[in-house]
């Protein structure tokens, strides 16, 4: 009984984390985007605001940033990357291959956990739906 209850709690935890990850990744929207894709439609920008609605982005000067942010993207980073102080914190794009993402040589599995959670969500759902179906079939026979 204890084993069954602990499995149930574990499954509920997987479901909750899975749903959170599902929403965080906009999983439903991204999965179905291909069905609403139109090659004739103009590109609407990242948030669907359209080119007219897009606010012009003004890059703040380094000296205008608060102290906490200036420390984070401080001069030491900029010097290490061989760039001027005002561009500190930006990665040296020229050194990377054109197809490489930032941190390409480092093992980075930070985002994989969200996908693992969604994957586990679908697995747990399938297990319980299958169990429920078998139980209903057994009762009918």
């Amino acid at each position: 009984m204890v084993k069954k209850i602990s499995f149930l709690i574990f499954s509920v935890a997987i479901l909750v984390i899975g749903v959170i990850s599902f929403n965080k990744l906009s999983y439903g929207d991204r999965s179905t985007r291909i069905f609403s894709f139109s090659s004739d439609a103009p590109f609407e920008g990242r948030m669907g605001r359209g080119p007219e609605g897009r606010e012009e982005f003004v890059r703040p000067e380094m000296r205008e940033l608060p102290d906490s942010l200036r420390q984070q993207f401080g001069p030491q980073d900029g010097e290490r990357m061989g760039r001027g102080h005002d561009e500190g914190g930006l990665r040296n794009v020229e050194d990377r291959g054109r197809a490489e993402f930032p941190g390409g040589k480092k093992i980075n599995i930070r985002n994989v956990k969200w996908f693992l959670a969604v994957f586990a969500l679908f697995t747990v759902l399938a297990i319980y739906i299958d169990k429920a179906y078998c139980l209903i079939r057994k009762r009918k026979l």
């Binding site: 999983y27 991204r30 999965s31 996908f115 586990a120 679908f122 747990v124």
Partner: protein, 151 residues
Amino acid sequence: MNVYKFFLSLSLTIVMLLLMDPRSFYGLSFHEWAGLIIGLFFILHKILNWGWIKKVTMSFFRKCSGKARLNYVLDVLLLAGITLMILSGISISRTIDFSWLNLGGSPMFWRVMHTSSSYITLALFGIHLGLHWNWILQRLHIKKVKNGKEN
């Protein structure tokens, strides 16, 4: 044979999860090469289960259990998903040159196709694993095989 099948399925799952984010692991070059290799792994997975595929194909519209039918339809969808994923991946690849294939279509279309097909395929992978959960428990010796019958 079942041990090979189990480890192949396990490695397929792990690689598939690592491939979901192109920034993960060793970056885009890993993403593209592993994406191609996973296609070969998938074909190997199908070859190892060829007996089941043949049996269900022959009896799909006649004598076949509902679960076997569901698994079969899911497998066909997975095959379609993996094919679309690899095809769209080839057309938007940056570290491997596939320009000689001339697949056509806009890069935006292929990019959206790649994202959507990979997200749908991961969900199908999860459901596929859930429907084969008893088989996995049997392989791990957590659950006993009933009447000598395997899932």
